[in-house]
Symmetry: C2
Subunit: 336 residues, 2 copies
C-alpha cells in the first residue's frame, strides 16, 4: 500500500501539502491540489486510518456496544446507528457485552483503545457510577434504553410505562376484566415500568391485579410457555393475557394451542416490542411497537451533535406505538 510520502514525491510537493488536500484544508493552491489528486488516483492511495488516528487523536469512528448480536432488536439498533453515522461519513465499530460486567468493561476498553471518538451503548451490567465515570474521564457516551442521573441528555429511552398502560387499556376497552399478566424479570427497569403502566390502566378501569393471574417470566419463549401453563393450573378464569414481550407471547400462543384453546376467541393475547416475527405468528400478534430503529438513529444523532458539531434536534424519550393485529378480540363473556 502506498504511503503519503510516495504520493508527495509523485506530486512533487511536501507531505504537509498532501495531508492538507486530503483533509480539505482550503489553504492550498488549486494547481497543487490537482497534482496531488492525480497522484492519489494513480497510486490508488488510501490513507492509513490507524496512523491518522494516532496522529490526530480522533478516528471518525464511534463504537457501539450491544448486548447481543443475533437478535432482531439489536440488529435494528445496529442498523440504525450504522446507517446514520455512515451518512455523516463516520464509521461504526461494533462490540458485544452479553450483559456481563467483565465483557462490557472489556468492550469499552477495546473501543477506547481503538480511539473511538464516542460510544453508543446498550448495557445492563455497568453501573450508573461507572457510566458517569466513563463519560467524565474518558469518552462521550450515549445510552439506549436506560436512564442515568446526570447523563439525562445522553439517554435515549422508551416510555415503557405508557406502553404497558396502552396494552392493558386496549384489553379493558374490549371488555376484558380477567386479565392475566406474564411479566419480564422485574429487576429490569423496562419490565417493572411495563407492569406499572398495566396496573395504572387496571385501576383506571376499576380493576386490580389478581396475584393469581400474575407470573414473572424471563423475556424468553420459555417464560411464555411456563407462565401460561402455571397460570392455567391455578384454575382462575381469564379471558386475556398480557405478555411483557413478544417472545413470551409467542411461547404463550404455542402453549395455548397445545392446551386446546381456540385463539383468539378463547384468549386474547397481546405482546410488546413488535419483534420481527410478531406478524409471522398465528394469529398475527397484536402488540406495541418498540421504535428501536428510531432510538438508535437518535443516539447516533446525539453523538453527531456532541462530538461532530452537528445540530440535530434530540428527543430523549420515545413512545411505543400500538399495533392492532389478530390476536386480541372483544371479550365474549365466556370462560377460557
Amino acid at each position: 500500500m502506498a504511503t503519503i510520502y510516495e504520493v508527495a514525491k509523485l506530486a512533487g510537493v511536501s507531505v504537509s501539502t498532501v495531508s492538507r488536500v486530503l483533509n480539505s484544508h482550503k489553504t492550498v493552491n488549486e494547481e497543487l491540489r490537482e497534482k496531488v489528486e492525480k497522484a492519489v488516483n494513480l497510486l490508488n492511495y488510501r490513507p492509513n486510518s490507524v496512523a491518522r488516528s494516532l496522529a490526530s487523536n480522533r478516528s471518525d469512528s464511534v463504537g457501539i456496544l450491544v448486548s447481543e448480536l443475533n437478535t432482531p432488536f439489536f440488529g435494528e439498533m445496529m442498523r440504525a446507528v450504522e446507517l446514520t453515522l455512515r451518512t455523516a461519513n463516520k464509521h461504526t465499530i461494533i462490540t458485544v457485552g452479553h450483559n456481563k460486567l467483565e465483557q462490557e468493561e472489556d468492550g469499552v476498553d477495546f473501543l477506547i483503545g481503538r480511539n473511538c471518538d464516542a460510544l453508543i451503548m446498550h448495557v445492563e451490567a455497568l453501573s450508573d457510577d461507572m457510566l458517569r465515570a466513563i463519560n467524565r474521564d474518558k469518552i462521550p457516551i450515549a445510552l439506549i434504553n436506560r436512564q442515568v442521573q446526570g447523563l439525562e441528555g445522553a439517554c435515549i429511552s422508551l416510555n415503557d410505562e405508557l406502553g404497558g398502560y396502552w396494552a392493558c387499556k386496549h384489553l379493558t376497552d374490549l371488555g376484558h376484566t380477567r386479565i392475566a399478566y406474564i411479566a419480564g424479570p422485574i429487576h429490569k427497569n423496562d419490565a417493572s415500568q411495563r407492569l406499572a403502566g398495566h396496573n395504572r390502566a387496571l385501576k383506571e378501569a376499576g380493576l386490580s391485579m389478581d396475584p393469581r393471574l400474575f407470573y414473572e417470566g424471563n423475556y424468553y419463549e420459555s417464560g411464555g410457555i411456563d407462565g401460561l401453563t402455571e397460570l392455567m393450573e391455578r384454575n382462575v378464569d381469564f379471558t386475556a393475557l398480557v405478555c411483557a414481550n413478544d417472545w413470551m407471547a409467542s411461547g404463550a400462543i404455542t402453549c395455548a394451542r397445545d392446551k386446546g384453546l381456540n385463539l383468539p376467541q378463547d384468549l386474547s393475547i397481546i405482546g410488546f416490542d413488535n419483534d420481527m416475527f410478531a406478524h409471522h405468528l398465528y394469529p398475527k400478534l397484536t402488540t406495541l411497537h418498540n421504535p428501536i430503529y428510531d432510538m438508535g438513529e437518535m443516539a447516533a444523532k446525539y453523538i453527531l451533535n456532541t462530538v461532530y458539531k452537528q445540530k440535530n434536534h434530540i428527543k430523549n424519550v420515545f413512545e411505543p406505538q400500538f399495533i392492532q393485529r389478530q390476536s386480541t378480540e372483544p371479550c365474549q363473556n365466556s370462560t377460557s
Copy 2:
C-alpha cells in the same frame, strides 16, 4: 490515559522493558516483570491499540463484512465469528456491505485501513477476480457462502444442492407427486443449487418439474405471498409446496390461510434455512437447517490457522440438516 512512558518511569525501567512484559517476551527478569506489572495496575494502564497496531503492523483483530446487520442469519454468523475469535484473544470489527459493490469495496478498504489482520466476508457484489486480488495483494480472507476458484481453502459453504434434494425427497417419500416450487432469485448461486437438488430428487422419483408449478421469488416474504397466489391462479393442482427459504414459506403460509386452505392437510409446505422464526409459524415449519453458526465458527478457525498459526481442522462444505416439524404431512390424494 496513561502511556507506556509513565509506566516505565514509575517502574524504574525503560519502555522497551515495559513493552516486553506487555507482550510476554520471556527475556525479562522476574523482578523487573513484577515491578512493571505493579506499575501497570497502579496506573490502570491500557496499551493504546492504535499505536501498537501502527508500530507492529498487526492488530490482533479481524474484520467481518456482512450483507445485513438486522437478520437472524447474519446475526448468528457474527455471533459465531465474534465468540470464536474472542476465545482466541482476537477482536472483531464488523462492517456492512448491503450487497452493493461500492459499499462492499468501502467496507474492505475501511477494514484494511484499520489494520485488520484478516477479513471474513459474506459478499455478493465483489467479483471473484476482486476477491482473488484482495487475498493476493492485501490481506488474507475467508469467504462464507461462496465458491471462488483459486480460493477453495478459504471458502466455507453449504451444500445447497443436497438441501434442495432432501427437501423434495422428503415430500416424495410422503407420497406427494404434484409439488410446486417457489425459488429464490435464480442468478444467486444458492437459489439455483437448491433448485438443482430439487430437480434431481424429482427425477429420482420418476417425476419432473411442471413449469406451471414453478415460480421465481425474491427470498422475501412477499415472494411467498405473490408466488402462491400466482401458482393457485394457474389452476393446476398440487399437494405440496417447496419454498427456497423460510421467509417465502412464511409468506406462503399466511397466503394459504387467507385463501382458506387448511394447513397442513390441504398443502404441505417446506422451507429452507431454519430461520429463528421457523418454529414460531403455525403450523411450525418443516425446513432444512442452515448451519450458519457452524460456518461462521469455521471461517474464524480458518483465519486463526492462516494468520495466527493455530492448527484447527477445517471443513469447507457443510450439510444442511433436515428438521421435521408440523407443516408437512403424507399426501392425502386429495386436491388442494
